[in-house]
């Protein structure tokens, strides 16, 4: 990383760091508890919620493992997220009945000043473990790079990029947000 890039990561004060952590932990709890509307309310109007799929390419291949115009499991604006939540709430979402038990664990939170005065770049890692019916268990691990925007005493999520380790998703579906 060049010296210039290193300078860009300007840490924030303790109070902001604490508030961002609490925001992320609360977000994880909302997802664990299927509080979809409360979770959606955390999104900014212009949210871009992006989880690209990983391709296995040689290091020398300049195309890289993912790109914004390639495969993605989430490539959502607010309407897209709303549509997914509409499905989760349907009594006919058979794959959600009985309910899945989720645990979203968030860790390694780092907060830096964003490009705008009211925005923050937030890095974190996550573990999502879910259990369905008798012994249908799946584990997904990765990192997130967010842009949070100040909203009163809290924040809104303006951008999220989720990078998972798996190139082949080892689960039949992805029935939560990360």
């Amino acid at each position: 990383m060049s010296a210039k890039q290193q300078l860009k990561e300007v840490p924030v004060d303790r109070d902001t760091l604490h508030k961002v952590e609490q925001f992320l932990y609360r977000e994880a709890r909302l997802l664990d508890n299927e509080r979809w509307d409360d979770w959606l309310a955390l999104m900014a109007e212009d949210i871009h919620y992006w989880m690209p799929t990983m391709e296995n390419r040689r290091r020398a291949d300049k195309n890289g493992a993912y790109a914004v115009d390639r495969g993605a499991l989430y490539n959502d604006n607010l309407l897209d997220l709303t549509r997914r939540i509409t499905r989760f709430k349907q009594p006919t979402a058979w794959a959600e009945d009985p309910a899945t038990r989720h645990a979203h664990v968030v860790s390694g939170v780092e907060v830096y000043q964003g490009d705008k005065a009211d925005e923050f770049v937030v890095h974190s890692s996550f573990v999502n473990y879910r259990s369905r019916v008798e012994k249908d268990n799946d584990l997904l691990v990765g990192r997130r790079e967010d842009v949070l925007r100040a909203d009163g005493d809290s924040f809104k999520l303006a951008r999220r990029k989720i990078i998972i380790t798996q190139s082949v998703l080892m689960a039949k579906n992805l029935n939560t947000f990360l």
């Binding site: 897209d80 997914r84 249908d136 190139s167 082949v168």
Partner: protein, 456 residues
Amino acid sequence: MCTANDGSPVRLKRRPIAESVANLDRLMDLDKGRMSRDLFWDRDIYEQELERIFARCWLFVGHESQIPKAGDYVSTYMGEDNVLIVRQKDGSIKGFLNTCPHRGNKVCFADLGNARQFVCNYHGWAFGIDGGLKGMHASEAYEETGMDKAEHGLHPVAHIDSYRGLIFATLDPQAPTLAEYLGDMRHYLDAIFDMDEGGTEFVGGCVKSVIQCNWKYASENFVGDILHAGWTHDSGAKAMVGGSVAEVHKFPDQSYQVNFNGHGWEFNQDIVGNCATLGEKDLLKYLYVLQPKVAERHDDFRSRMIGAISSCTLFPNTSFLPGQNTFRTWHPRGPGQIELHTWTFVNKNAPQEIKDKWRKGTMMTFSPSGVFEMDDGENWEYSTRSNAGYVTRQQDLYLGLGQNSKLDTDLPGNVYRGQINEANQRAFYQRWLDLMKSESWKKVPQRDIPKMKEAL
């Protein structure tokens, strides 16, 4: 060394055919709509599928648009065989088993890319993009032993060919031509993959996931099961279009099932029914504008298929949905697992914003996070798993919907009235049984006589 149909040598060794699982005829009585659960559970049947279905049939291996330049390659699977599909310097395409003939290591670890050669990480055996062995680490040592490099190149697939941009390959030198294999289904494939002179391309890369089900549940679902949509996918329809799945069973004269050689396509004549589930008006408009041009290029009947409520499986394990534009292969991974590879296809000549909307829309509806596909996985997993029960797996399954719905028509293929039907599924399993019982391609019964001419 084995030989192709024309007597030319093929550097691909094949064992003599093994003895069949006993009494396969007991597995189904399609006239009565009866099937055995052993098809979805039995390990010996699965192993025989690897030999008599996957090592014999033409399997989808990629789209021409994925490998435009010399040296471009994709790594994919034929059954459980990992293969590299590589564009050659002269524009042709070759396919090879992705294994070093020295000690067997995988030669290429990337999913796709461009290569000047493929070099094995173990001993530096280096293969050109034409599969020929060009050299090794410490090659002088080999030269002293008089080894003939020509005998140790990558193993090529037996045949490789493409139709309307879709590349297929087979590991059986005795296989019929791709045109014979696809047969009359080509007539209908043109409605989607030849809408205009530009044809199609894949966009956005490949999304891969694992489902713990037998591959045939996925293939049979897409070959003819639109019945499930109204029930399984109600939540997806409510999410994307705010209403229920269209009640297509109420209008059986407006939809059809067509099958040929085990391939099957169920479809409506509503032009945009599948596309509508992507919730994007611009895509509907695009199809409505295109439809009369497709009618002129082909015919009115086929032009109404371009985005209609429909699904298709090309035997054995490649399927697609017009309108949602998802294209996928269900790779078998044992009797109880598949690896699903999905792509998005679009017309090459479509405007970029339209292509982007389709790329996004397919992921939104038919991917592991797709609001429709999410409910399918569980159905197939638990249909498979229930057969762990010893007594459970001795019970019959039923596949009797739509008996006696065949239509007498000039349309190519076997045509049936109403897409709410299981005629295609029965034809799929009949073809499966024919292949499983036959010791070679020569012995496979030709039940379906083509109405289309062979030459293109």
